[in-house]
Symmetry: none
Subunit: 202 residues, 4 copies
Amino acid sequence: MARIPVAQRRRDFIEAAVEVIAAHGIDGATTRRIAEQAKANVAMLHYCYDSKEDLFADVYTFVAGKYREVIEGSDPHTTLPDAAREILRGVMECYLDSPSFTAATFELVNWARRQHGDRGIAVYDQAFETVRKALQEASAGDPVTPEVIDEATYVLATLADGFGVNWLTYGDASVAQAQMEVNCSVLDSWLATRLAAAPAKA
Amino acid sequence: MARIPVAQRRRDFIEAAVEVIAAHGIDGATTRRIAEQAKANVAMLHYCYDSKEDLFADVYTFVAGKYREVIEGSDPHTTLPDAAREILRGVMECYLDSPSFTAATFELVNWARRQHGDRGIAVYDQAFETVRKALQEASAGDPVTPEVIDEATYVLATLADGFGVNWLTYGDASVAQAQMEVNCSVLDSWLATRLAAAPAKA
Amino acid sequence: MARIPVAQRRRDFIEAAVEVIAAHGIDGATTRRIAEQAKANVAMLHYCYDSKEDLFADVYTFVAGKYREVIEGSDPHTTLPDAAREILRGVMECYLDSPSFTAATFELVNWARRQHGDRGIAVYDQAFETVRKALQEASAGDPVTPEVIDEATYVLATLADGFGVNWLTYGDASVAQAQMEVNCSVLDSWLATRLAAAPAKA
Amino acid sequence: MARIPVAQRRRDFIEAAVEVIAAHGIDGATTRRIAEQAKANVAMLHYCYDSKEDLFADVYTFVAGKYREVIEGSDPHTTLPDAAREILRGVMECYLDSPSFTAATFELVNWARRQHGDRGIAVYDQAFETVRKALQEASAGDPVTPEVIDEATYVLATLADGFGVNWLTYGDASVAQAQMEVNCSVLDSWLATRLAAAPAKA
DNA sequence: AATGAATGAGGCTTCATTCAT
DNA sequence: TATGAATGAAGCCTCATTCAT
């Protein structure tokens, strides 16, 4: 009944998987639970995906895509500090908006590290690269060395990750909101110091 | 049959559990695998621990204890920036020394959030509190407001967590070593800015 | 793969459970054995029933139902002695017809007494009540006090239980057949004496 | 510590086994529980008994012995009805005095029927034979046929068993006390009828 | 005589997956 | 396209028993 095309079904399963992974962890994300969340049955899941792993591959793609959206979608800015701050803020806001996405992402990256090494790193690498490019573009007119760009990318990621861990652990949105601001100021003050120390290179 | 006293066996199981959790995640940490890692069999595990959960409770205690050791064991310093930097460095070095401990800790906190809520947060809270106290003592003679201590604690944790995630994902020790320095400088520059802005309060 | 609907499968499992309980006792009635007896595998059992306990609940219902059938299905009679004798005979014949049912019932009542208290007694109570009602109806036109009905119910149950224990222990059908007659005459002579002594009450 | 001779230890284990069997059933009577109840440890049990089954064999002997005590210990009487009634009363009083003994006995007989056939019947047979002999002696001077003795033995056993089942199920001592009297009167009235019908044989 | 430590077998249950309709 | 039914592997845990001290 309710004949739904496979493509749509797949999307449903992906979204369902994100929710279930967030709620129950990777290993708690059983086919039964995912199917239930997607209002389908287990056999249907295996009709759309040959294996659970195939479904998870699509979930990876979905997560990576969302990261790119968020990073590239942040308002274009012309200075490195502005761009970095806005990207960081964008990622943190995304985390704040969607705890499920946040939790699922952390689960997936962690799981992939254990299981398939490469794939987990792939998501991380992609996001890194996207950030790096965005920062490069923003500072195209400035005398900023690649080392600074790299470091900034890393610090941005560190602050975003640290924010994510804390937010997931405590789950208090109003606290997290305040911490967003702190993290932005941390990035600001570090970049200011860093740029002040490095301009000689230019 | 080795005839090892239960107390020692328990320690073996705890260490084995840390390794297995790091390698396979919480849900992948099956009794079989833990027993195998501890060079025992599953029945022996249940001779030492009534249930898997009981073992994990001891793993929690172990992890929390190690955190306290690291934080309280950092060289005593007399200024807030020094103390904060050394604690951060101590935690990151601990992570660097023992990837298994790092991975297991992140798994446990994450798992506990899903499963029992309180207990996972307990580890996190304890570590937070220990850091806060250490920072308070270090800045006892200085005019530092509690807000600054709190923020510093949070930033320290964020940087440590972010470092941990990155280090776990890439697993490259020499890169991580460099990033340790970056993170320390991030903390330094932010604290400098923060303290410069806030002394009016005193 | 036979593809039998769940409803039928459930019935198979109930029957299988009765056989296995009779043969191996309650605690010997393992899922493995029950599944084997039902020509299924253990996973199938858990496809039909969430837990072993759920299956046993159905077995209880089945047993209680059979009792009611036997008691209410005995030919209607108009005097207390006739009704009592026919019910007793019916129950004993049922025992004789189905040693498995008999054994399983005794196991279940005994087990339930230890485990859940209430439920085992429930079966017993139900049967008691059904007998009491039947005897009341049969003696509706006679001057019989409730006390006599109660005692008659108890004596009937005692004789049925005693018969069951003996029949289960020796398992000799021809001997049991003779003992059925003896038990009926025991009930007859006692009731005759009892009714002769009590009519003053009316 | 507390070096206790093996013979005493064995007696402790037998008594402990009776209690545990009564409380948890045959299959619930694990070595651990029995040892605990006997204030010993599991290894000690296997020091006294090669196997659990060996212990249970002693429990059988114990139960059979207690039956003989009760039956032969009933006051000597000179008529069949008196002797039968007093033996029945003695057995029922024994049941009433010691629910553990009662429950364990029923468990053991039932278990033995399933497991080893012979042994369960052996206890039952022994008790039967003891009763038969007692009744024969009591009616030595009377013109009573062996058939009547056999039937009386059977009816006595039936009433005792039925009483036991009911008493175990409900566990209400005051109710059981009343039912003891009813059962005695049942035996009386049946024997009176039976003897009145059969004297021709003499 | 006594007891901690050790173990293989088997208990119930859940999983991802496949088959048949 | 959709779904009930089926299954082997593996999960945690408990058992009776034996070993070493």
